[in-house]
C-alpha cells in the first residue's frame, strides 16, 4: 500500500509527451531521494532537459538492458554530457556514453576507469581505428565493450590501444586471438601461474600489459581475457566466461552470432550479463534486444502499467502487463517485473496460472530462462495445496515443450531433480517415466535424460528395471536391462557426439562399457603426455549405418577398446578432446580382417573448433596399428580426425596423446 502511494506521488499529473513519459519512468526507477539528489547536481537541469527532448536517447537509456543503480548511471552520464554538451548530437558517441553509464551502474568500477574507457572508444572511432561494425552497434551491445573483460587491467585504455594497434583482424578471427599468448603454467623462472610471482618480475616492463601476457604467457584466464580484450579493443562485443575449472570467452562474430572461443563445456557463466549469466541467458539477451521495435513497444506498455498501478488502477495495470509481454514475449526483465507485480498485488493461484500459461507461450522456446522464472516465481505459488499428481501434471506442461535446446545446452537435469523434490517419493518413478516418455526421442534432451537416469539409478539398482521398463515401453523398445542399455546408448551416444556434449557422452559411454569385455592393449605403445582421448567423445560419420555399433564408441577412445564403423562414401572418424592440447602422438588400432587396407591413405586432420580443419599427415599403408609421432611438431587442437573421400573406415581404437593447453 505504501509503495502504491509512493508511486502515485512520483508520477506527475498530465503527462503528455513521450519525453515526459519516459522521464517519469526514469524518476520512478530512481526513487524520490535519488531523484532529489540528482536535481541538486550542478548543471542537472540542462542535462535533464536535453535528455527529455531526445526520445531516442531516453530509449537507449531505458530499453537497452537493466538500469541498476540509476542515480549512479545518471550522474556518470551527466558528467560526460557536461564535459561535452554536443555529445547527444553524435549518435555513436551518445550510444557509447549511455552504454558506459549503464555498465557503470552494474558494478563498482571507478569513475576515472569508465571515463577513460569511453574516451578510448570515442577517440578511436573518430580516428577510424575500430572495426567498421562498431558504428552499427546498438547500445545494449556496447555495454559489453563498456564492461570490459574480467581482468580489468586488460581493459584499461593503454591495453586497449595496444591491442587495437597490434591485433586487428576480421571479426570472426578473434575466436583465435587467445592463442597469441603461449599456454604456460609456469613462467620462465619456474614460478607458478597460480601465484602472485608469475607476472610480478615483468609488470611495467613492456609497452602495455597485453604484451607482457603475450611474451610471458599464461593459462586459460590470461588467454581468454587476452582474446576477449583484443576483440573489444577493436569495437567488437565479447565477454569472458567461466567454465568448470576453466576460463573461456565469446565473441560476437557477426550481427547475430555469439561464438564460444577456447571453450570446453556448455556449463558457462558469463562475466557480462543482463539478467542470467548462462549461455542460454546470452542467447535470450541477443534475441530480445536485437528486436528494438518490440523492445520499445513492450517497454512503453510496461511503463504505462507502472503508471496505472501508481494511479491505483490495478486491473488496467495487469492488463497492460499482459499486453507488454504479448508484444515481446522474449523480454525476460518484464516477465520478472510482472511476477513482482503479482506478488506486490497479492494475486491468487488463478492469476499465477494465467501467468504460467502466458510464460510458456511467450518465452517457452528459451527453456532455461523459462525454467528459472517458473521455479523461482511461479511454481512456489501454484503448487501450494496441489497433490502430487496435480503437481506432476503441472510440471509436465513444461516438460512437453522440451524439444530442442532453444538457447543451448543447460542444466535440465537440475530442473528434473527439482521437480522430483516437489512430489512425494512414491510418485518419483512415475514422474521419471513420464519425463522419459516425452524427451527420450529428442536428440537434444534424450541423451541428457539417459545420462541423468544413469547417475540416479545404476542398472543394478532396484528401481532400474521398473523405471527403464516403463520408459522403454513407452518408446517401444525392449525391456531387458542390458538390451535396454544398449538400445539407449546406440541412440544417446551419437546424439551427444553430434552436439559436442563430452560430459554426457562420457557418462553414457562408461555405463555402456559393461556391455563388452576390455580389449588387450598389447602392441599399443603410448606417446609422452596424457591419453587425452579417454576423456573426450567420438564422432563417427554415417550415423545409423548397419555396420556400426555406437554402444562401443566410448571404448575406442581409451584402454577399454571398442569399435566403430562409418558408412560407405566420404567418411570421417573424429575425436573431440575434453581440453585443448598440444599433440604428441596418435595410436590408431585398425579392425582385424581383410579390410584393414581401408584405413590406409586417410588424411589426418586437426581443428581448434570443429569447423576449420588442417591436414597434418596421412595414414600410410595397411597396418594393424598406426603410430603417428607428433612430438617434434607443434600441432595443437581440440579435434583430431581421420578422413577419407571414398569407401569407409572402421577402427578399434583411436588414441590421442598430448599435453593439455586448457
Amino acid at each position: 500500500m505504501r509503495t502504491h502511494l509512493l508511486l502515485a506521488l512520483l508520477v506527475p499529473l498530465g503527462i503528455d509527451s513521450e519525453g515526459e513519459r519516459l522521464m517519469a519512468d526514469l524518476h520512478r526507477q530512481c526513487g524520490p531521494t535519488s531523484w532529489s539528489n540528482l536535481q541538486g547536481i550542478e548543471g542537472w537541469e540542462g542535462f535533464a532537459s536535453a535528455l527529455e527532448r531526445d526520445g531516442t536517447w531516453l530509449r537507449e537509456l531505458l530499453d537497452s538492458g537493466p538500469v541498476r543503480q540509476p542515480e549512479r548511471v545518471l550522474m556518470f552520464l551527466h558528467d560526460l554530457w557536461q564535459a561535452d554538451p554536443d555529445l547527444h548530437h553524435r549518435p555513436i558517441d551518445r550510444s557509447m556514453a549511455t552504454a558506459c553509464a549503464l555498465a557503470f551502474g552494474m558494478n563498482n568500477v571507478k569513475t576515472e576507469v569508465m571515463r577513460a574507457r569511453f574516451d578510448y572508444y570515442r577517440d578511436s572511432h573518430a580516428a577510424g581505428l575500430l572495426n567498421a561494425c562498431y558504428a552499427g552497434l546498438s547500445t545494449w551491445e556496447r555495454r559489453f565493450l563498456a564492461r570490459g573483460s574480467q581482468w580489468g587491467f586488460l581493459s584499461e585504455a593503454e591495453s586497449l590501444t595496444f591491442l587495437r594497434d597490434t591485433i586487428t583482424w576480421p571479426r570472426a578471427q578473434y575466436t583465435r586471438a587467445c592463442w597469441q599468448a603461449p599456454y604456460r603454467s609456469f613462467n620462465c623462472l619456474g614460478d607458478t601461474v597460480q601465484g602472485p610471482e608469475y607476472y610480478r618480475p615483468f609488470r611495467g616492463s613492456f609497452a602495455a600489459a597485453p604484451q607482457m601476457v603475450i611474451t610471458v604467457g599464461g593459462v586459460c584466464g590470461a588467454l581468454s581475457n587476452l582474446g576477449a580484450s583484443a576483440a573489444m579493443a577493436n569495437g567488437i562485443p565479447a565477454a569472458t566466461m567461466g567454465e568448470p575449472g576453466h576460463c573461456a570467452y565469446t565473441v560476437k562474430v557477426d550481427e547475430k552470432t555469439w561464438q564460444p572461443a577456447y571453450s570446453l563445456s556448455w556449463k558457462r557463466s558469463l562475466h557480462t550479463s543482463f539478467y542470467s549469466n548462462s549461455w542460454p541467458g546470452l542467447m535470450l539477451t541477443e534475441a530480445c534486444y536485437s528486436d528494438s521495435a518490440a523492445m520499445a513497444k513492450s517497454g512503453d506498455l510496461a511503463r504505462r502499467a507502472h503508471a496505472k498501478e501508481a494511479a491505483g488502477d490495478i486491473e488496467r495495470a495487469d492488463w497492460l502487463w499482459g499486453q507488454a509481454l504479448k508484444a515481446h514475449g522474449l523480454n525476460l526483465d518484464l516477465w520478472e517485473q510482472w511476477a513482482t507485480f503479482g506478488e506486490r498485488t497479492n494475486q491468487g493461484p488463478q492469476w499465477w496460472r494465467t501467468f504460467h500459461d502466458a510464460l510458456l507461450l511467450g518465452l517457452g522456446e528459451h527453456e532455461e530462462p523459462t525454467w528459472s522464472v517458473l521455479s523461482r516465481r511461479v511454481y512456489p505459488k501454484l503448487i501450494k495445496g496441489l497433490d502430487a499428481s496435480s503437481r506432476s501434471r503441472l510440471f509436465m506442461d513444461w516438460v512437453r515443450r522440451l524439444k530442442t535446446w532453444g538457447g543451448g545446452r543447460w542444466n535440465v537435469e537440475g530442473a528434473w531433480a527439482w521437480m522430483l523434490k516437489e512430489v512425494a517419493i512414491d510418485q518419483h518413478a512415475q514422474l521419471v517415466r513420464d519425463i522419459g516418455g516425452e524427451v527420450l526421442s529428442s536428440s537434444d534432451f534424450g541423451p541428457a535424460y539417459v545420462s541423468w537416469l544413469l547417475t540416479r539409478y545404476t542398472p543394478e539398482s532396484p528401481e532400474w528395471d521398473s523405471i527403464l521398463a516403463g520408459v522403454l515401453k513407452a518408446s517401444g523398445a525392449s525391456d531387458e536391462a542390458h538390451a535396454a542399455l544398449r538400445q539407449l546408448a546406440r541412440k544417446a551416444l551419437p546424439d551427444a557426439a553430434e552436439r559436442g556434449d563430452v560430459g554426457t557422452f562420457q557418462t553414457i559411454g562408461k555405463a555402456a562399457a559393461r556391455l563388452s569385455q576390455p580389449q588387450s592393449m598389447e602392441g599399443l605403445e603410448p606417446f609422452e603426455g596424457e591419453l587425452l582421448s579417454a576423456g573426450g567423445l567420438l564422432h563417427v560419420s554415417g550415423r545409423g549405418n548397419r555396420w556400426d555399433s555406437p554402444e562401443h564408441h566410448w571404448g575406442v577412445l581409451g584402454e577399454h577398446g571398442g569399435a566403430c564403423h562409418t558408412d560407405n562414401g566420404a567418411s570421417f572418424i573424429a575425436v573431440r578432446l575434453a581440453h585443448h592440447a598440444r599433440l604428441t602422438g596418435l595410436v590408431i588400432q585398425n579392425r582385424k580382417g581383410g579390410n584393414m587396407w581401408r584405413a590406409g591413405g586417410s588424411r589426418i586432420e586437426i581443428s581448434a573448433d570443429g569447423k576449420e580443419w588442417q591436414q597434418i599427415g596421412t595414414l600410410q599403408g595397411t597396418k594393424p596399428i598406426y603410430r603417428v609421432d607428433l612430438t617434434e611438431t607443434d600441432h595443437s587442437g581440440i579435434w583430431v580426425r581421420i578422413v577419407k573421400d571414398t569407401n569407409c573406415l572402421h577402427l578399434r581404437r583411436f588414441l590421442v596423446y598430448g599435453q593439455k593447453r586448457s
Binding site: 567498421a132 594497434d165 576480421p170 620462465c188 619456474g190 610471482e197 610480478r200 618480475p201
Partner: protein, 412 residues
Amino acid sequence: MLHALATVMTPVCLAALMQPGVKDSMAFGVGRQTAAEKDAVLLVLAHGSDWNTLGERMFHELWNDSDFASAVGCVLADVDVLQSPSAESKQANDARNKGWVEKGSGLRTYPAILAYAPDGTLIGSRQGADLPRKVVEIRAVTLQLAADCRKWVELTAATAKAKAGADPTTELTLLIQRDGLPLARHPSLLEDLRRLDPDDAGGHLARLSLPHWNTLVQQATSQAQAGKGEEAEQRLLGLLANTAYTREQRAGLHLALGSVYRRWADHDELAAKHMRTASTVAPDSVCGIAGMRLYLRLYGGPSLFMGWEDRHTTDTAAANWVIEDLPAELEAGVYTLRLKCTRGGSLMLTGAALCVDGKPIVLGPGEAELAGKGSTLELEFTLDKPLSNATLQIILGERAKSRGELTWTRLR
C-alpha cells in the same frame, strides 16, 4: 576537318594523360609477376575494404595515388581480406587474391605493408606498432621502407657478387650491413655466417643466434630443476665469456644463471649475485628489471618493491636494513620513507640514513618505533643537494616478526 578534330582532341588527350591513374594498385598475383619482370621490390598492402577503415584510407590515398606510386618506386599490389562477403563478392575477391597465401606471408595484423624482393623473399613489413595511425605519417614510413628495401636489394646483389668473387670478408661485411637495416632477417643469414666465419671471430653468429631471453631463461630453469644445474651453469658461463652479446642479451644470460642457481641447493649467494648483475648490466631491460625484482624478493633486504618480510625481522637477520631500490637520481628536496606494518609485531628503529657507497650522507630521524599490524611510521630526509645511486640504511633495535610496505615519496 582533321585539323579541327586535332584541335578538339589534343586537350582531351592531354587532360587524360594528366589524370591520376585510377588503379595503380595491382592484384597480388599480377604484382608479384610484375615485380619479378621489372626486378623491383613489391609492396603489398593487406587491408579489409568492408571492415578496416585505416587500411581503406591507405588503399585510396596511397596505393591508388599516382604521385605516391611514383615516389615510392616499387610495384604496388594489395590483398583485400573481406569480413562479411556475399557469395558473389567472395568469389570475385578470391579470384583477385589468387596466389596470396596468408601463412608464411609475414602478415600479423591489419593493415600491413609487406615488402618482397623480386624473387619473392619477404624483406620486411610495417604493421602493428611499426605502422603509425595517420596516413600522412604512414606515407613517410612507407617511403622510408621502400628506400630501405632498395638498399636491401642493392646489398643482396653486392653480397652475391662478393660471394661469386670469393671475397668472404666483403661478403660478411655486406651481410651484417644488410642485417642492420630495419627489415626482416634474411632466412639464410645464420647459415651464411657459419660458412663465412666458422670461428665466429666477429661475434655476429653468437649475437644473432642467441635465443630470445624467455626461451633462454626457461631452458636454464628446466635444466636446473631436472638436476642438471652444473650443465646449465657451464653452458651459460661459456656464453657470458663471449663479449659479442649486447647488454640486454647479457642481462638475459645473468638472469638465466641466477635462475639456475636459485633451483640448485646451496647456491643462493650465486643466485643473488647474478640476479643483481642482470640489473647492473642493463637496468632498464626486461631481464634487468626482472633480475632486480627477483633478487629483492628472494635474497635482498627490504625494498620499496617488496616491502619487508618475516625473514628481515628474525633474530638472525641483519641488524641493518639496506634499501637498494630508491630512484637512481634524487634531486634536492624533502622526502619521506613510510613504513606500514601489514602483519606481525613492532619494530624499533635506532637510526636511518641515506648512503652513497655505504657512507651516510643524509641522516634521518634517530629512534622511532613502529607498532604492530596496521600502524605506520614516516621518516623524513632533507637533501640539500642531489644524490645519485643512494641507498637507505635503517638500523634496527628490538623487533618482532613482521611484514610491511615501504613507500618513498618526495614531499617538496
